[in-house]
Symmetry: C2
Subunit: 427 residues, 2 copies
């Protein structure tokens, strides 16, 4: 049965960016109108004391890596990866991928996230199952590394696309996931292009994350990563590029021209000491900059509101300009630009005709007083626990902080059994 | 009647930094022992599923500025100050100072803060009253600006010291608060020194916050701020220096030699685009670096856990070293170093003989799973809503997120009336 309800008397930003109080009419999977009209004869959600925003979009994560949260922190990159992360990842089973992603889904819903771009695997069909069951939107790709069964993995990512692209009423979409320039040489990327073109699939890839990556690329190919990748044809498939920290002006030109969408991950870039992405430069060149958490072993959470705040703060201190990335723009990066990054049509705005992906934030907390500017309060003062109600495709996934689609207690128990089996160390 | 209770079966970091499960015995205002001994015949607080840390110390704030939260954001510094902040501050009454600080007290307790260093005024006796009533610790100073009734203000800060230093069982301490080098020329600072020496009072001052401040100081005095201030004798009184963003190596030497304690305010420094303090350099020179939120109009909250995270993240990305300021060190900055910054004796550690200033963090949330390292989870994953129980001087200020000393609903109402009267704009 189609959803029909009205969120009454809620605050929101109108298209001009002004705070207004209005009623949001939801019909089926869409917002049918936003107006002062009185709702008649329909289910009412009380919006009083709440601030409505589009759902947050996590444009880059590895959901099942929640299993490695707090397992290895404050280490040098290669110690972290080679000694701690990879050996455990090697042991992960289908079941681990499922429960890791399922805990991630709980965490994302609790933090006001309604869609995510995930790159991991194998067994991404388990993550697809979690997307289906949770009610979230997910844009999934398998992480492809050429030297470790590269062809087989590519075939598996293609299979994933064929089986799941557009599934769960369109909430599941699939991209191809070549991992990075240092794990996927140009010849392999060309194979990816061939498959992507056949399917009409887009690409999700780590790009220009660390200084070492650039140096190695220059050494190996005499060019910078975006230049190498552009020559393979990969950018013409449409790319969601994660990180994009170290960029030359020439690369930014390429990105702008090829409509590369960026997933900026300030929390991960800070924690792993990767560097500061040139966000204001990218925005000035009309590059779509969305936000992501990266995996929970390099963040260590999936809290998008924290990324919104970090994006706003880091851009200011990096440029020494207090006007860089204001609150409303940071919020736009996590919503409208996130939807663009994931190539989701009619998602990411509170507007008639758009998908009803909505978060209601509770403004009752002491950190919301006084209330001169709810967008500013959300970005600079509140935390994720203010997410009260989460709606995706017109379906309520959480209300009054109570989850409607997932059994949190059971998920935490199953998840911790997986962690115990993997490491023997979880307390 | 003296407090006597035991926090049973709680996780904490032992002096070697290892996670252990133990019982914390509280007697009167102190921790009497931490051990595996069975508690006998006393009140029990169940510590199962909780992580105990020393209370967080906010080493620099302007509590009553909560009244200006979200009133003016994303503006250039001088527009912000001159057009928005100062005109409202001019209108603040005794009542505003009180209710502003009282809301701040609610927010601090809810976020696991047990002590704060506050510089504001006039009417700092109102903040002293809030410290008394809330059960928090407060180290208060009046902000002194030479050109605006400088002598009168200094006399008022001296009066504050005489009336309140050591009050509320020692929970209230007083410092003198010369505002900054650009508002207090050397001759005025020398007057402050005279009074400080008579009282044995310490100094709380903004130092080296912006690049402009350094440039102006060089222009006016031919020297950098710490050099000018050192010559006035002010550093010999003992100084808590807020910000310390722009420092020469020579200044760091002076700070180290004069035992200047720093209140690092990463959130404010990022939001106002002031710059990045050289925290790892300061720590390497054995300078005590504590953490602060600054006022809620430049942060915009009093969430110390967020400052802990920002301190850890910002130091890493600034130095491109993932080992810079690990989780446990960031936590130490907010606890033990915070207590040192405020010159609080036997505060800031979970250890027999120390004051019972304790926070119990609830580890049940999804963002605490799996649990390999609670310190890492607290710093990199949790948010302030995990603060479950807050104890100061052996007295319970919050338990199960229920406030025990303050009436939150009434405070929010009174506070919002003040904001309405001040601005006419609060919704």
């Amino acid at each position: 049965m189609a959803n029909e309800f009205v969120i009454q008397g809620v605050k929101l930003l109108n298209p001009a960016g002004e705070v207004v109080t209005a009623n949001i009419f939801v019909s089926g999977d869409k917002i049918s109108k936003i107006s002062a009209d009185e709702p008649a004869n329909t289910k009412i959600i009380d919006g009083k004391g709440k601030f409505a925003t589009p759902g947050l979009v996590n444009a880059h994560t590895h959901a099942s890596m929640t299993l490695l949260r707090s397992y290895s922190d404050d280490k040098a990159l290669m110690d972290w990866l080679q000694k701690d992360i990879w050996p455990i990842e090697d042991k992960m089973t289908r079941q681990d991928i499922y429960w890791g992603a399922k805990l991630a889904a709980v965490e994302m819903i609790r933090g006001g996230t309604t869609a995510f771009a995930d790159m991991y695997g194998p067994c991404m069909e388990e993550v697809a199952k979690v997307v289906d069951e949770s009610g979230l939107r997910g844009s999934l790709s398998q992480g492809l590394i050429s030297f470790a069964n590269g062809d087989k993995k590519l075939a598996s990512n293609v299979e994933l696309y064929k089986n799941f692209h557009g599934a769960a009423d369109g909430r599941i979409t699939i991209m191809l996931g070549p991992h990075a320039i240092y794990t996927c040489p140009p010849d392999y990327l060309k194979k990816v292009v061939v498959e992507a073109e056949k399917l009409g699939a887009e690409i999700h890839m780590h790009m220009n994350e660390t200084k070492t990556e650039i140096e190695d690329c220059l050494k190996n190919y005499g060019k910078r990563p975006f230049e190498v990748v552009a020559e393979t044809g990969l950018l013409d498939c449409g790319m969601l590029a994660a990180h994009c920290v170290w960029l030359s002006d020439a690369e930014i030109e390429i990105m702008s021209k090829k409509n590369v969408r960026v997933a900026h991950n300030p929390g991960s870039n800070m924690k792993l000491a990767s560097g500061i992405a040139p966000v204001t430069k990218l925005l000035a060149k009309n590059v779509t900059v969305a936000l992501g958490t990266d995996g929970a072993s390099s963040n260590n959470n999936l809290d998008m509101l924290e990324e919104v705040r970090l994006a706003a703060l880091l851009a200011k201190v990096d440029t020494l300009d207090p006007l860089a990335v204001p609150a409303a723009q940071a919020l736009q990066m996590a919503t409208e630009f996130g939807a663009k990054a994931l190539n989701l049509s009619k998602v990411g705005r509170l507007e008639a005709g758009f998908k009803a992906d909505i978060v209601l934030w509770d403004m009752g907390g002491v950190d919301w007083q006084p209330n001169y500017n709810p967008a500013s309060l959300l970005v600079y003062s509140a935390n994720a626990s203010a997410a009260d109600t989460v709606i995706v495709d017109g379906k309520i996934l959480m209300q009054g902080r109570e989850l409607k689609t997932l059994d949190e207690e059971k998920i935490i128990a199953e998840f911790n059994s997986c962690a115990n089996r993997l490491t023997g160390k979880n307390s």
